[in-house]
Symmetry: C3
């Protein structure tokens, strides 16, 4: 009956995640079911900026956790980022048009019951612990993703 | 009966747009329906190189319009662009094999009745006015995209 | 009856190809049919590192063949590659978690009968000859891709 959308979010770019969350929120408004599966760089937006964890990590995992963006507003643009200058210009242009921030879109998706899945293998390799991620994130393996995706009416790799 | 293809074109890279338009033209030749929805950087290829508009734009929107590519042949490669050197080498290699230019593919898609939609929010944020875009471009919101995409037989995010 | 997955692999990044091959192998384990269509930079992973060919190529095609990665382990990350430093750190982190290398995933996909298609136009433009590619690669045109994709249960552009 109802339509179902599946988004594989691989990217950690502000603008691509913006597109992903616009689609997710729009589809929920249209009463579709929406699953987002965050893998590789996409997991960066699932980090809770207040909750970095150091214990139980290897040296590389600690370094990696420290140098990568924490949460939505810390991400850069996929192009014209120019060390953040292009991004802050883009944010000003968004404000002029009353476009919501990425943080707002993410808050909306959490409230609107978009389902958040995280890629188990990526989380292990990057050393991300459950406690430093958003509580809604459910970590699953690639077969769970495939099963969900192939039974959806639409799939995107973002 | 007939199949329907929906392409979300987010990228503003010459090579990715080349792939998108090859698919669009191929599918039209096979008598499928094709919608392309241009969002964010994808809108750059929908600009008419002859018709830059300055009036009614904020300072940032003017700057943004001036520094970003205008129309298909102004776009760079997604990798090995090397300030345009890699791209001009690629263009020479394409000519050697009689591969059409991006401009030709775009002209073909316009003639072949591929449907061109533009993302309303992106156009507003970037300050692109209707008069500086190709006349075939119809500006719609994200829900119009989702409705079209979810009722297609195939969707790609490019 | 059985489900069918179609992946258009446009990217030549280690991490994106890793994701593509994880999905391909996972879907084969779940007894789905899987087609991968390698276009543009995606063709780089289909090169046999032992079999570079020079004859019958234009000067540009020779240069291009020499400066681009040959085979899976030669590819870089889509971000944080940092001249290979970021990549080797990532490879160490993968080893710590017993994650397979890209080469292993590719070997698995070949053994698991994933179908490998290569884009004819891309191969011609880049000057890649049949003899320097993996023997499983079947070179086809864009319409063969579209026909396969539109009749699949799921399509991704990676």
């Amino acid at each position: 009956m109802g339509k179902k959308i599946n988004l594989l979010v691989f990217s950690g770019d502000y603008d691509k995640l913006y597109a992903a969350l616009l689609i997710a929120n729009g589809a929920r408004d249209m009463e579709m079911e929406v699953s987002m599966f965050f893998a590789f760089w996409g997991l960066l937006i699932m980090r809770d900026p207040e909750k970095a964890v150091g214990e139980g990590k290897s040296t590389y995992e600690k370094m990696f956790g420290a140098v990568t963006p924490k949460g939505p507003e810390d991400l850069g643009l996929s192009r014209m980022n120019m060390m953040g200058m292009g991004k802050s210009m883009m944010l000003d242009m968004m404000k002029d048009d009353n476009a919501p921030s990425l943080q707002k879109l993410l808050d909306g998706a959490r409230k609107n019951k978009v389902k958040f899945y995280g890629c188990k293998l990526s989380a292990e390799v990057m050393g991300f612990k459950k406690e430093e991620m958003l509580p809604e994130l459910e970590v699953v393996d690639v077969k769970a993703y495939i099963g969900d995706a192939v039974n959806s009416d639409m799939q995107l790799f973002i």
